[in-house]
Each structure stands twice: as C-alpha cells, then as structure tokens.
Amino acid sequence: MVHEDYNEMLPAQALNALDAEDARAAEAHLQTCAECRALLREWEDTAAALAFAALQEKPLEPSPRVRERILEAIRVDARESGHGGRSDANQAERANVISLPQKRQTRWTAAQTWGAIAAGLVFLALLASLFVLWRENRQARQELARLANQVQDAERQLISQREAIEVVAAPGARVAELTGTSVMPNAHATIAYDRSGRAVLLAKGMPPPPAGKAYQLWFLAGGKALPGKVFSTDASGAGTLSDQLPAEALKAVGFAITLEPESGVQSPTLPIYLSSGS
C-alpha cells in the first residue's frame, strides 16, 4: 500500500472502525508518517463531534452520586500513590489518541478479586478430592492384588491336592512317609506316586526357607541321590510339590529332603532334613 491508501483509511481509523488487519497496517504507517498523524487528528475531532448526536432534547444527567464516587476514588488513589495524576509524562508520539485495543483495564474489581479467591478455593478442593480418590484407588488396587494372590495360592493348593488325590487313587499307587531328622525334628512329609512315576509331596512342620534357599527333594535309588525339584513352604510350615520320579527310581526308591540354593543343585548338601527312613 502507498501513502494515499493509508490516507483514505484515516476517517475510518478515527472511528475505530478499521478491521484488525487494516488497523495494524494503518498504525504501522502512522508511526512513520507525520502528515498522516496530523490528518488523523483532524478526523478524530470530527469523530468526537458525533458525541453531540447522542444528546437528547433534554440531555440526561448522571446521578450526583457519580461525582461523589469519583472524587472519593481519586482521594483514595492519591493516598495510595502519594500523589494524584501520574507525572511520569512519558509522552508517546500519539499519546492523545486512545485506540480501543490499548484500553485494557488491569485493576480488579472487588467482585473479580472474590471470584478469583473462590475459584482458587474450588480448585484446591478439587485437588484435595482428586488426591483422596487417587489414594483410595491405590488402596483398592493393592487390596485387589492381595486377593488375587490369595486366589492364586488357593488354586495352586487345590491343584496339587487334586493331583495328590489322583495319584493316590491311581491303581498301584504307593505312599511313603518322610520324617524330620534331628535338624528339623517336627518336620513331616508324605509322598504319593503312581506307576508312571507321577509323584506328589505334601509337607508339614517345615519353616519357610531363608532368603535365597529352598528345600530340594531327592530320589535315592541304586546307591545314588537323584535330584528332584525344589519347593518352598508357607508361614504355617506347609508346602506341596509335584514331581516325576526318574525311571531308575520307579522300582525301588527312597526319599530325602535337604536345604539348597533356591535354583537347586545336582548333588545334595548335608545335612539331610527329612528322609523316608529306610
């Protein structure tokens, strides 16, 4: 755009009627063009005169209270700022021109202040209830996990008991008793196995093994100790294990239990905790 284009925009600019984009362009041009600034001032006088078109035949008067309120307010203002009108006469080039976008009131009314305080309180309350919900949710999850574990334990127990029953009920099933040695005199276990070698061990009176340790079952056959699986016991001293007898142990077998590293070993570590006696 050239100077003449801006020149044509000035009457509308004086009415604050330019659309945002035009207004920005006009403002930018005015910064650099003294002639247009002078012309704009004249147009603003014409625009201001339109205020008379708003007067009614018998002009309206504001209530006398408005005058009182204004004078009261400036006294408060004067006390707060130490003086009255601002004297930092920082006179920008177009200080006398008040354009709409510049007029943003930044002071808060009492209602806005209370509104902000109320909003803050509501926000805090929401935050607090959110925290409570989160905590309750976490507790519920923990409870759920605990119950799920219990169910899993119960299921595992049920399965091994069913297996034990199946094994015991199978034709040709045999049962061996294991008793605690002097290391663990109160321990006792029963092992049942069928002809196929499927075996189930039920143990009692065996304290839970220390961390990193487990009980391991041994099959004694042909003068050798063949490794079985490892198992653990619970706080009540009970434990179960399903295992499979090695082929060479099917005909004649003895059983022993030792305490070993939890991954199990290939040859037993003494002492023996339980044995089938013979």
Partner: protein
Amino acid sequence: MSFGVQPEQAQLADVELLHAVARGDEGALARLYDHYRVILFGLLARILNSREEAEDVLQEVFLQVWRRAADFDEKRGRPFTWLVTLARSRAIDRLRLLAARQRLAVSAARDAKDETSDAVADAWHAEQREIMAQALAELPEEQRRTLKLAYFDGLTQSEIAVKLSTPLGTVKTRMRSGMIKLRELLGDQMKTLR
C-alpha cells in the same frame, strides 16, 4: 452561529485544567467533570443503552483522566477530542464485555429523568446538538447509518458490511464519504468545539 458557544478560551481553560489534574489537583478534576458530564454521559448512555452502565463507565473515565492526565498533550489534540475518544473507547469496551456476557442492555437510559440545572450549559448543549443534527440530516441515509453503526455500536467495517448485507467496498466508501461530508458541514465550527 458558531459550533460552540464556549469559545477558544474555554478550550485553553480545559488544557489548564488537565495540566492541573496531572499535578494532582482534585478541584480541577471536579471542574472538568462538571463541564463534561452531560456530553459524556449522553454519549455513554447512547452507546450502552443503560443508565446504570453509563454511570459506571463515566466513573471509570474520570478515574482514568485522573491517572492519565499527564499523557495529554495539547499540541496533539483538543481536550474535547481526548475526553470523548477516551469515553467512547471505554464504552465500546464495556459494550463488548456485556455482549460477551450475553446480557442485553435494556432501555433504562431512554426513560431516565434528567435534572439539568445549569441553563447556560443547557442552551449550549442544545445548540451543539442542533448543529450536529442538521449536519447529519444532510448526509444520505446510508452514509448516516454507516457512521452511526461505527460510532455508537462500535462495529468495524466488515461487521457493518455483514449487518447491512452490503459489500465491504461499499461500506468503506460510504464511511469515508460520510466523514468528508460531515467535516465540510461542520466546517469552521469544529475549531471552537469543546
């Protein structure tokens, strides 16, 4: 008949009053208020169409005059223009705020009673009003309407084009022609405007 019974020394007096306000002179602000309350209140009531809102904004305007009087520079404009422009922009801001709140301002202003006591001021206002009314009457209807929508309703050129279902270019031309004609009609009377 000149546009403004109160001549140029009144304008000078207003400049002095604004300077005094800038120095913190409360009495000067009270005098400015007494001079301008009727014209500014009339404008605010016309724009806001509510006596209550107009009084509220009038108070805001004079508080701003109190705080910003130091910004006024007589070399860059007349006190009258400065005050009217300030009041109008405040009123348009308020109008937008009210529109945003979906609160439709209602009529109070129209039937409000007035208690003008100063007969001289009364006569002066009546005269200015008459001059402006005559000037506006000489404008073609569509130009007059365009100017009023911009000035009293705070609409931009595009908004006016939409409201009147008129091409934007036509609105621009009407606004510009209307302003040029108005300035011609007011002529020298503008200079003594206060």
